[in-house]
Each structure stands twice: as C-alpha cells, then as structure tokens.
Symmetry: C2
Subunit: 278 residues, 2 copies
Amino acid sequence: MRTLKNHPELCAVNTATFGFQAPLTKVIDEVARAGFGAIAPWRREIEGQDVKALSKQIRDAGLKVTGYCRSEYFTGSTKIARKAAMKANAKALDGAAELNAAYFALVVGTGRNLNLVRQQVEDGVAELLEHAREVGVKLAVEPLHPVYAADRACINTIAQALALCQRIEGKVKKPMLGLLVDCYHVWWDPALESSIAAAGNRILGFHVSDWLMPVRDVLNDRGMMGDGIIDLPYIRELVEKAGYNSFVEVEIFSSENWWKRPMDETCRVMRERLFTRV
Amino acid sequence: MRTLKNHPELCAVNTATFGFQAPLTKVIDEVARAGFGAIAPWRREIEGQDVKALSKQIRDAGLKVTGYCRSEYFTGSTKIARKAAMKANAKALDGAAELNAAYFALVVGTGRNLNLVRQQVEDGVAELLEHAREVGVKLAVEPLHPVYAADRACINTIAQALALCQRIEGKVKKPMLGLLVDCYHVWWDPALESSIAAAGNRILGFHVSDWLMPVRDVLNDRGMMGDGIIDLPYIRELVEKAGYNSFVEVEIFSSENWWKRPMDETCRVMRERLFTRV
C-alpha cells in the first residue's frame, strides 16, 4: 500500500467538501496551496463559465482533474425526461473533456420498479458510452449506499456496478466504462473483498470520508476521515491491491459542520487525516 | 401467490407495531379481535411476567406465535459481555419454547472491524443453535438494511445470512437455523431474486412495512404498507415461490405516527393494506 503521509500530491479534493461556499477559481487556489494533486469539480461550478479558462487555471495550478461530477439520472419517468437527461449528460461529457477529467461520475437514479429502472440505466449508460468514446472521457458508475436506493441510485454495490460494466462493454483491456469506490457507500458490503478484487482496472476513482455514529442525516452528515467507523486503510489496501494507483479523493457532504468552516481549515484537517487515518 | 384479501388469519402482527403502549394481555385481545392469525411478542413484554399464562392466553385467543423478538447482540466488545449476552439469549430461547414460538429472531450486532464481528456472530449463533435444538425452537437470523451496519447488525443481505446458516448447519432437510426476510431491510438488494430463491426453506419469517420518502429517521419512521416505495407484492411472490407459506407479519417502527394511534385503528388499517397492498 502506498504511503500517504507527507504525500498530499497523491490526494484529491472533491469541491463538494467545501459546500460550494466560494467560486471555483478560489477553490482551485486553496486546493493547490494545500499541496493536493487533483480536484474534482461539479457541473454547477463549470456550466455557464469560461471552461477553457478554468481548465487552464487548474492545469497552471499543477492540479489534475479526477472526476467531473455528476450525471443526470438515467431514470426519468417519461421518455422526454430521459432524453433531456441524456442530452445534458452528453453536454456534460464535453465539459469533462475540456477539463481533461479522468472520468465523468454517474449517479444513475432510481424508481419504484427496480428492474425497470435498472434496465433504463443500462440502456442510458450504453448510449452515453458512445459519446464518451468520441470525446475520450471515461464513465465511472458510482454505486451508492442502499439507503439511497429509494431516491438516488438503483446501483448499490460494487458487484452490481461491475456486472453492468461487463454487460455493456464486455471484456476489454482498457475499459472506458468503470466504477467509483466511495468508502461511505460500500464499507458495509459483505462481498467487499471479492468485488473490489474482481473490479480491478475498472476502478476509476476512490473516495474517502467517514460514517458518523449516530447517523443523523444520511445525506449531508458525512464525517471527516477518522471521525467515524469506516476502516479506511483496510479498504484502501483492497483497492490498491486490485491495481488502483490513482488519487485518494476526499468528498464530504456535511451541511452542519465542514461546509461551515473556512476552506483553509478544512484543507489542513484533510491533509492530517489523509496522512494518518486513511 | 396466496390471496390475502379477507384472510387476516394468514397475517401476523409484531407487537412493536403498537409501540408498546399497552400490556401484552391487551395487545393479544386486540390482535385476536381483528382476526389476525398470529402475534410476535418482544422480550420486554414477556420477561418477568407469568409466561405460562401469557402463552395460554395467546393460544386460547386462537393465535400462533411467529417470532419471539429478539436476541442480544453477539458482538459485545469483551468476552464477559459476549458471555452475558449468550446467557440472556439462552434464557430467551426458553421463553420462546414456552410461547411455542416458530422462531427466535436474531439481530446480531456489529462493530468497527467487520470481519472480526462477523466471526463472533458465527461462533455465537453456532453455540446458541445447540440450545435451540434442545428446546426445539428455530433460530432466524435477520439481515438488516445496510444503514444499520454501523450500529445494529453486520449481517445485511439475505445471501450473507444464508451463507452463515449453511456454514453452521450444513445442508439439512429440516433446518433449525434460518433467516427472516423483512421487506424494509432487503427490498433494495440487486441479488434479491436469486437469494430468496436460494434461501428456500430457510426462510422462517416474512415481515412487511414500507420505506417512506423522504427518509426522515431510518430507525423509527417506517411506513404502513402502501405508503412508501417498496413493491411488497413482488417480494411476497418471490418468497412464496421459494416455498414460504407461513404468516405475513406486519412490523412497523413508527414513533411519530403509528405508535401514537389507538391499537384498533392501526389494526383496521393493517387489515385493509394487507388485503390490497401486499
């Protein structure tokens, strides 16, 4: 396993961690100043802006872009809604290409009839993959914790995401379709070890945060690494054993705590925790 | 699939659904008056009481006992704590036998090191099974929704519970060790169909309630069948196809809604929803 201690350049910051309290231009400066190696911006920070200029600022600051966050749901209740989402996703992929993002993150959506919406997701991802190939940006399906299966994603385990990738793309040496391993979403999985090993080079991104106890708000009360119960070093070891050697990315949704703190404070604590608790 | 309409005798009520607002003697009367076929009491209603008399009252009211709720966790942080839990579980099994319960429900506990606590659970269940055989009461492992993996149970899928049963008991015609399928806990599972089919005669109980949206409190805000997003008839069909032909049991933890209503009202609504939405 790699040593993170004193290697912030191996780590990335997802801008959601700051709660969008400042424009991306400032966030980029802050993340670069703290020595991190990469950043993951959101569409709300990019769309309608001068993307070329932002992309240049990121590059000039010495940062890479990991994931571009995130897709529209593939599971709208009407064909028209699903078409509109596909169009927005295709446009977002162009943005991801402009940013030189390693991948475009897919949060897939869900619905009451799980078998139906899972098929919609499969069809939508397969279609989007064609455009992804054209613009040269990988797609990363993010399995979300099953607590979000009712309102955000019908893909809830690594094994399920991997099976989806394999059905769509088949066996290939250099996959354009892969998945994200976010510890917050997958730590509980009884098949964690075998599914991470099987996912191998389909693992395009690795996210860390922590699961606080007691759970107050499953959406916006994620914890800083070390403040909760997830055995993060154990999961990082699994992922790196499976061949992952890209950035360790912090993504913390925390409306009542971290989003209220100054960005430099959050950066300082992230560094320390990445060094010692991940 | 069986018809539940006008067949409340195929249905059971878990007493937690009333929020323990009345002594068990009154609850038994209420459940019997509504025409239900069975009841699932909790240890807090039984221990320290005249169990023989309660058992007789239940039988005289024409009710069966499905599950006796529930075990202590098998995952205490010290050996002494785990021994004490085993002792309490053995004693509870004696109560289950006195009540002629179809099974004793196991909520297994959890901890930070999942591999460690899963082994503790396996050791504890294997040990308890010996006493269960002696007193003739089956053990039903309850996989809980992964949102409880941090604080209540490290067994979170049917497949995981089934594998545990098979490792402990091997392949047997008449298993003494099985599992509970609670729709609230398992509805999201991408392997739901195959794991229910595989579980077959290890399915000792079937619980219904509903997953409300938005989620306010994952512990005590469960919904009445039909008020949420779970496709209950679909899951019941899977379970019955797998061979399950025992009671459909309602268990609703709902501190802010159903627990505040009179028992006869809750019974009336349960009947109606069991007839039409399950």
